[in-house]
């Protein structure tokens, strides 16, 4: 428990410094155009990486195909402009239904 608390506090401190650094260094000055272009590209790359890591699971060896129908439902609803919250809830419900069906042995 102590190790976890120390780790959490250390992470909080790093988080605080990391988030303050940008504004402390730049203030109200805009980013140079090249830096802005890199910053604009980062979110998409990071989201793609987080998505892959999230789907592949622990050590990239824990992929569970039952999340795919839920992902498909969530994305489909988003293309129809439903709210993100509704999309995620619907995706969760779909995945839960698939797992329940598999656990019940009906598929």
């Amino acid at each position: 428990m102590t190790t976890m608390i120390v780790a959490v506090l250390a992470l909080a401190a790093v988080n605080l410094l990391y988030k303050a650094a940008g504004q402390a260094i730049l203030g109200d000055h805009p980013l140079p155009p090249r830096a802005r272009a890199v910053a604009d590209a980062l979110p998409v790359a990071q989201l793609a990486a987080l998505l892959v890591v999230g789907l592949l699971g622990h050590a990239w060896r824990a992929f569970d195909w039952t999340v795919l129908p839920g992902q498909a439902v969530a994305l489909f609803l988003r293309t129809r402009r439903f709210s993100p919250l509704l999309c995620v809830v619907a995706g969760i419900a779909c995945t839960a239904a698939v797992r329940l069906a598999l656990a019940g042995g009906c598929c």
């Binding site: 605080l16 988030k19 303050a20 940008g22 504004q23 980013l31 802005r36 910053a39 604009d40 979110p43 998409v44 989201l47 793609a48 987080l50 998505l51 999230g54 789907l55 569970d64 039952t66 999340v67 839920g70 992902q71 969530a74 994305l75 988003r78 293309t79 993100p84 999309c87 995620v88 995706g91 969760i92 419900a93 779909c94 995945t95 839960a96 797992r99």
Partner: protein, 86 residues
């Protein structure tokens, strides 16, 4: 101090269609999320639920689905030519 309010969901909420940022929306979104995060972490720490509590109802889909939606929205905004950094 304002930078401390930047978290994924708040940053996404703060983006306006014209690619500018609404700081008030970001601060408000963070203020709603912060107690939920703290409370959820405390509950998880105290109850130590097993993996089945998350996996059976499909809750492990929350982050992958949320990231997928953010990725879709980011690409949609980029295609419309309005993706800019804060």
């Amino acid at each position: 101090m304002q930078g401390q309010a930047i978290v994924d969901g708040s940053w996404a909420v703060a983006q306006r269609p014209d690619a500018s940022f609404d700081r008030g929306a970001m601060f408000g979104a963070t203020m709603v999320q912060w107690p939920a995060w703290v409370l959820g972490t405390a509950i998880g720490t105290l109850t130590e639920p097993g993996a089945s509590v998350v996996e059976a109802p499909g809750l492990d889909l929350v982050f992958p689905a949320y990231f997928a939606l953010l990725l879709y929205d980011a690409r949609s905004r980029h295609d419309r030519g309005c993706c800019r950094s804060a």
